[in-house]
């Protein structure tokens, strides 16, 4: 006819505003918590995916600051350092290496891009080895080059969109006054490849008059010892080894500061919610001392009263937790958007990933914290003696 659960939830309805405010507090803190946890796993996943989409885990570049080289390239193509293409052959002898592909990056100045001119970047890639490193490339139109020294280009989706190019159209390499035919346009990948123009390595070497390369992309065999390989590559003369796992670690280290900050906010939010729960439940216990005394004359043991009060706590936390997780999932894309504004580098794809196990984990944490908050009020209620409460 009536269960303890019904008694508990009907009691919470007694002070609707207070109950609602408490639930809102729990909702907000669980929202923050689950979003943070979702970001924790989502960001790393997205970063891994970005790195995986590079196709290679290690890059070998000419000595000198590799970072500088990359920046220089973006600024105007001067100051790039080169390595011999023959190095690819010698690197391939290492047993850990699955594939290696030579890349030549070139940037040419186009005075007719905007007011002050701009840079047009080109990727010279080897048609024999590069495509197999990017097996996830899909062509929107056309295909790869027909010949390793053809005057052809494959364009990333956004590069093609900006230049309004379709297969069969021509592109014009500024500075060098060379025309290339577009043979392929890639589907959007969500990575930097979208803005890239690929040209056969030999063609780009011919156009730029440089018979060397800037980079070697290395794909390591599965289960191979990457650190061991890196150490071997470091011994090569005049080269710089850039491991993408190192880059990832650098980024993760920098992100961790932000993570710690958000985590502290989440902890504070949970503490505030906890105090709210303690206050609500304790108030409700104190207001009902006489009723609790009566329940004891009916035969309720201290443990019964304890569990009754705990049930109330549990209901509050479950409602708040479910609502918070619901909001977090519902507004995940908004959170994503915010995170992208705050972070200087955000990988492509969903940054906030909330799955079932994460939702369960958050729910577990919220319930645990809730039960802890309910401990004192429930214990206090359990100790109420009927004689004293009724005589008040």
């Amino acid at each position: 006819m009536i269960t303890r659960y019904q008694i508990a939830y009907k009691n919470l309805l007694r002070k609707k505003a207070r109950t609602l405010l408490t639930i809102i507090g729990i909702t907000l803190s669980s929202w923050v918590l689950v979003s943070l946890l979702g970001f924790n796993q989502g960001y790393e996943r997205a970063l891994n995916r970005d790195i995986e989409n590079m196709g290679y885990q290690i890059m070998v570049m000419a000595k000198g600051c590799p970072y500088e080289a990359a920046t220089m390239m973006l600024q105007g193509g001067t100051g790039l350092r080169y390595i011999e293409k023959s190095m690819v052959g010698s690197i391939l002898k290492e047993p850990e290496i699955d594939q290696a592909t030579p890349i030549l990056m070139q940037a040419f100045f186009d005075p007719n891009k905007g007011e002050n001119g701009g840079i047009a970047g080109y990727f010279g890639v080897d048609p024999a080895t590069y495509p197999s490193m990017k097996p996830f490339f899909r062509f929107r139109q056309g295909e790869w080059f027909h010949d390793d020294s053809a005057d052809e280009a494959v364009m990333g989706f956004e590069a093609a969109e900006l230049e309004q190019r379709e297969v069969g159209d021509m592109i014009f390499v500024p500075e060098k006054n060379v025309k290339l035919k577009v043979v392929g346009i890639l589907e959007r990948t969500g990575t930097q490849d979208d803005g890239t123009i690929f040209v056969p390595l030999k063609t780009l070497q011919k156009v730029s008059g440089i018979d060397m390369i800037t980079t070697i992309g290395i794909k390591v065999k599965k289960d191979a010892d990457i650190v061991e390989l890196e150490n071997k590559l470091y011994k090569l003369p005049d080269v710089q080894v850039v491991s993408l796992s190192q880059v990832k670690q650098t980024i993760m280290k920098l992100i961790s500061t932000a993570r710690i900050m958000v985590l502290s906010v989440a902890i504070i939010a949970i503490l505030i919610a906890m105090v709210g729960v303690i206050n609500t439940i304790l108030m409700s216990v104190l207001e009902r001392i006489q009723e609790i005394g009566i329940l004891k004359t009916m035969g309720a043991m201290p443990g019964d009263i304890f569990s009754l009060v705990w049930t109330e706590t549990l209901i509050l936390c479950a409602c708040g937790g479910v609502a918070g997780i619901g909001f977090a999932i519902g507004f995940a894309s908004a959170t994503d958007f915010l995170v992208r504004i705050i972070l200087p580098y955000a990988p492509a794809g969903g940054l906030v990933v909330i799955d079932v196990s994460l939702a369960m984990l958050t729910m577990g944490i919220i319930l645990l914290v809730g039960l802890m908050s309910g401990l004192y009020p429930a214990w206090k209620a359990g100790r109420v003696r009927p004689l004293e409460s009724i005589r008040r």
């Binding site: 006819m1 009536i2 269960t3 303890r4 019904q6 008694i7 009907k10 009691n11 309805l13 007694r14 006489q290 009723e291 005394g293 009566i294 329940l295 004891k296 004359t297 009916m298 035969g299 309720a300 043991m301 201290p302 019964d304 003696r385 009927p386 004689l387 009724i390």
Partner: protein, 230 residues
């Protein structure tokens, strides 16, 4: 049911409270016995110790000294003090309580309030149907889905009586059951108690300073200064 002559027996029950450095003898060496099926009323002015006595009889409190036997069981005696847990166990087997201030749960309906004891304890033999039967007997069958705020004081006390009876207690303990009611309602409650005693064979121990009500019982015990005068 065992037909023991002495259903409740108190021997030399005393209760002393300490207030500051002063000892207050609320109850002083009280002895008497009650038989099964009796309707006993305790009467006396405030401070006469009647409530203290009823609390001891109803196992809501431990005496300072003295012995109490209930239904053939030794409850208090030899100076042993029962824990709240032990007292609860005895209470739920033997007693139903009715208080001056009804103490209904405002968020539960009349029906739910009466069924409330079952949420914590159901005595073997106590049936769910008992809830409706009792409410019908007390004339509350049309009020079952009302909330306490929607019924009158007299009706609230009827609900409290029904709630005290669902677990089929051996003794109904009524502490000033009409203290908050007007004369007409008081008389109604008195009739109900009398009916329960006569027709259902329920043992009733009542405390009241209302002489009309106290006279309803088969036996009247007067109290003064912590002592009984039969």
């Amino acid at each position: 049911m065992e037909n023991s002559a002495m259903f409740l027996e108190a021997r030399g029950l005393s209760r002393v409270y300490r207030r500051g450095s002063e000892d207050i003898h609320a109850l002083h060496e009280v002895s008497f016995s009650i038989q099964r099926g009796e309707f006993v009323s305790f009467m006396g002015p405030s401070g006469s110790g009647k409530t203290t006595l009823v609390n001891l009889l109803g196992c809501l409190d431990n005496p300072t000294s003295g012995e109490l036997d209930l239904a053939g069981r030794k409850i208090f005696g030899n100076g042993n003090v029962l824990s709240e847990r032990d007292l609860t166990r005895i209470r739920r087997e033997i007693f139903g309580y009715v208080f001056q201030n009804f103490y209904l749960i405002p968020t539960l309906t009349v029906l739910e309030n009466v069924a409330l004891p079952f949420a914590f304890y159901r005595k073997p033999g106590a049936r769910l149907e008992e809830v409706r039967r009792l409410l019908a007997m007390l004339g509350m069958e049309r009020r079952m889905d009302h909330l306490p705020a929607q019924i009158s004081g007299g009706e609230m006390q009827r609900v409290a009586i029904a709630r005290a009876l669902v677990n089929r207690p051996e003794i109904l303990l009524a502490d000033e059951p009409t203290g908050n009611l007007d004369t007409t309602r008081s008389a109604e409650i008195g009739e109900i108690l009398q009916h329960l005693n006569r027709n259902e064979g329920l043992t009733i121990i009542m405390v009241s300073h209302n002489p009309n009500l106290a006279r309803l019982g088969g036996r009247l015990i007067e109290m003064r200064d912590g002592k009984v005068f039969k």
